[in-house]
Every structure is written in structure tokens, then in C-alpha cells.
Amino acid sequence: MNPAPTAAVPRLHPKVRLQRDDVRERDVLLYPEGLVTLNPTGAEILALCDGVRSLAGIVAALEQRYAASGLERDVTSFLDGLAAKGLVIYGR
């Protein structure tokens, strides 16, 4: 699968819920008959997927937050991985 274009707007598939797992002190994605454990960075990326921000916008927000650059590749590969599982969908 090719990486998503930076203008694409990622969001969670409607079947997926981002849920705090208090007991294990982590965030998880819940969906029919499954779950994906998120690390803090992953949870932060998904929190920015509001259905409005583009991939480029999400990367810019994170780079600003951490005064970093070159995050595009990591963010894209994380979201593409979830998209391949059908958990994230890209709109425009």
C-alpha cells in the first residue's frame, strides 16, 4: 500500500473506539472482536485525528508541540498501519 498523501484527512473508522484502559494505564483501540494497544505517542496522534486536520496538519501540530522536525514519516507509517487493519480511514 502506498503511503497516504499529506492532504488526506485521517479518522478512526466508526466501528473503532479510543478507550482509556485505566487498569493497565494505557490507551487502546477497541473494535469488533479485537483491540490494539497504543503507546503514548500513538494515542497522541490519534487524538489529533479529528476528521478535520489533514495528515500534514497533524504532523505540523506534533512538530510544533515537540519543537521537532521530520516526523512525517513516523506519523504516516503509524496511521497507514492502522489503515491497513481497517481501523483508520482517510477522507479529504
Partner: protein, 374 residues
């Protein structure tokens, strides 16, 4: 190892309008052990305790969970505490209004069973006219925006319909179809010889699954639950005893899986008497086969023990008479010959075109009769 559960199967009632002869419910479901169903308040407490214990996924099952008039309220509580809720239903008499109410209460996912790809066979297996309700329910489940799973139990009577069943799920816009080859517990164990397919039937169906997976890709997830009697190694049942799953029965007993209640050598605790957390960590039923210390040979020295956890305790009990033995499905198990004999009996009968014995349908009178017989 994370010693906390992720999954709770809540069997809200054993009442059911369908009579499928492979039902996984206990043979004595109509007996006094399960009669006194938990109240709304008791279930709500179970859901809260389950979440506090680590559970994230909740299956609302039965019997037929729609027969509980408080289902909407139970879904609302489960949603409020943060559980991802799946309704596992036959959809019998389910209306669009009721499903919409369940959606408003926070239901996340709907799984609707179908017994075959056409009305005639599906209704015959269900023992009642149910197919038409199901088709209607599939459509409004999608209209309401739910993710949909089509659940099918496979056996000798319907394995030839795998392609049509996948086609049905595809045409409905389902996300998943679960093709579960009959696992022989409960009523299925009682009806085993009549339900078990031949190897040739299984091979043909598996070829269809492979072809359809390639054709459909990520459009439809096709889950194939292995016919374990025909396998070389046992399934990693429940991901290991008391590692990730628990089942609460209609009467409040807590089991490590939905078949475990049949194991007469275990003591089961009840949510009416004990907190769920105590039961998970301290009870006999959960501790007896947790980890690896209980394992006999050939499991104890086998590298596969980390893969299949010795297989299924319920199967060891049903087939080999001792829940503490290696799953007899394992080709290394001393009792494998019992499985081989059951498979060979079916193959011989099929080759000679002998009709299988009549099925015993799952119904309260049959349940009471079987319980009386012991």
C-alpha cells in the same frame, strides 16, 4: 504475563426461541442451577467489577439476550463504564425500533447468527421459522450504522453452503463473517456423530474460504474457526485457561469459558456470593489450570505448551474423562485414539451412505429429560 482478563461473555439468559442442535449452552440449561437469573442491578455490578478488573470487551449473549427486557439498560451501564459491547443474537423478533434504542444506549457491534444460506435449511436447523427475521435484521443493522458480524456454525448439513454464506455476508455489507466449525461441547457433543462432517467436506469448504479471502481482501473479514477433531494439534483454547476470558452464566456462576461448567471436578463461585476480582484471582475453578504447573506429559516437556497451553480442559474432561489431561485432539496425547475413532466412525458411515442418527434439538423438555437421565 498480564494476569487480568480482557473479555467477558455475559450469558444473560438461557431462554431461547431457537433450538439449534449444536448449542454450546449446558445440556441442563433448563435445570435449577441456571433458573434464578441475575437482576439488572446484579449485572450492572458485574459490568463495573469487570471493568475495574481489566475487562474491555463485553459480549452480551445467551440463550437469546433480546429476551431480557432490561437489555437497553444493561447496554447503557456497560457503555457508561467503558466496555466495548457486542450483542450476540439470533435476531428473533428484533425490530428496528429496539435496535435503534440499543444504539442510543451505546451498543457498539451486532453479531447475528444464521443457520444456513437459505430459509428452508436455516429454519430446519434452528427448529423454528427464524430466517426471515434475520434477513430484515441484517438490513436494519447496517442502516443504523452498526458494524455487523454474520455468525454461522458449520457442520455436515451446511458446510456445502460456505460460498453462499460468504456471498450473503458480502451482499449485506457485513464487516465480518465468522464461520465456526462446530466445537463439540454442550448440545454439539451430545449430537456429535450426526453433526460431524467428513474430511472431504471440510477440505472443500476450506478451499472456498481461501479463494473468497483472496477475492474479497479487506472488504469482508472471513474468520474460520478450525474443526479441531481434524487437526494435528489442539487449539489454544481461550488463549489459555483463566488468562484473558471469563464467562458469567445467567445464574451468576463464573466460568473460565462458556463450556467449563460441565467439568464436575471443579468448584465454581457465584457473583452473588463473591466479588468478581476474588473469583478471578482466588477461586478454585480459575486457579486449577492457570499457568503451566498443572500440566502432565506430554505437555510438560513440549515446546508447544507456550503455543496451545495444553489445549482445551473441557475437551479433556468430555473425551478423556479428566480435565487435567492433555487435550485428546493433540496427536501426541495418549487419548488421541478416541478422537480418531469418532472421526473414523463418521467417515465409515458416510462412505456406506448410512444416515446419521436423528438430532436432539436444544429445548427445555429435552434438557430436563437429559438431566434426569444423568
Amino acid at each position: 504475563m498480564d494476569a487480568r482478563p480482557l473479555w467477558l461473555l455475559a450469558e444473560l439468559t438461557y431462554r431461547c426461541p431457537l433450538q439449534c442442535p449444536y448449542c454450546s449452552n449446558p445440556l441442563d440449561f433448563a435445570g435449577s442451577r441456571f433458573k434464578q437469573e441475575l437482576t439488572t442491578e446484579e449485572w450492572s455490578r458485574v459490568f463495573r467489577e469487570a471493568k475495574a478488573l481489566g475487562v474491555l470487551q463485553l459480549g452480551l449473549s445467551g440463550g437469546e439476550p433480546l429476551l431480557r427486557p432490561d437489555l437497553e439498560s444493561l447496554v447503557a451501564t456497560a457503555h457508561e463504564v467503558g466496555l466495548y459491547t457486542s450483542l450476540i443474537t439470533s435476531a428473533h423478533r428484533l425490530t428496528q425500533d429496539r435496535l435503534a434504542a440499543l444504539k442510543r444506549a451505546g451498543l457498539d457491534h451486532v453479531q447475528i447468527s444464521v443457520q444456513a444460506a437459505d430459509a428452508e435449511l436455516s429454519d430446519r436447523i434452528a427448529g423454528t421459522k427464524a430466517f426471515r427475521d434475520k434477513l430484515a435484521a441484517y438490513h436494519f443493522t447496517k442502516e443504523l450504522g452498526f458494524p455487523l458480524t454474520v455468525n454461522v456454525v458449520l457442520h455436515r448439513e451446511n458446510l456445502h453452503q460456505v460460498e453462499a454464506l460468504i456471498g450473503l455476508a458480502e451482499s449485506l455489507g457485513a464487516e465480518r463473517i465468522e464461520l465456526a466449525n462446530t466445537q463439540f461441547y454442550g448440545w454439539a457433543f451430545h449430537n456429535r456423530d450426526a453433526l460431524m462432517p467428513t474430511k472431504a467436506q471440510l477440505d472443500a469448504a476450506w478451499q472456498v474460504v481461501l479463494r473468497e479471502r483472496a477475492r474479497l481482501g479487506s472488504r469482508l473479514e472471513i474468520v474460520w474457526v478450525l474443526p479441531d477433531y481434524h487437526e494435528q494439534f489442539p487449539k489454544p483454547c481461550m488463549g489459555g485457561w483463566a488468562r484473558a476470558y471469563l464467562t458469567v452464566t445467567p445464574g451468576g456462576e463464573v466460568w473460565p469459558c462458556h463450556a467449563a461448567g460441565r467439568i464436575t471436578t471443579l468448584t465454581f463461585d457465584n457473583v452473588r456470593d463473591r466479588p468478581l476480582e476474588w473469583i478471578w484471582h482466588q477461586s478454585d475453578a480459575f486457579n486449577r489450570f492457570r499457568g503451566e504447573a498443572w500440566m502432565p506429559e506430554p505437555c510438560r516437556s513440549c515446546p508447544r505448551k507456550a503455543v496451545d497451553f495444553g489445549g482445551c480442559r473441557c475437551q479433556a474432561f468430555l473425551v478423556a474423562g479428566d480435565a487435567g489431561l492433555t487435550d485428546p485432539v493433540c496427536s501426541l496425547a495418549p487419548q488421541r485414539h478416541v478422537i480418531d475413532a469418532a472421526v473414523a466412525r463418521v467417515e465409515r458411515a458416510a462412505a456406506a451412505r448410512v444416515e446419521p442418527a436423528a438430532l436432539t434439538y436444544r429445548a427445555a423438555p429435552a434438557s430436563r429429560a437429559l438431566a434426569a437421565k444423568g
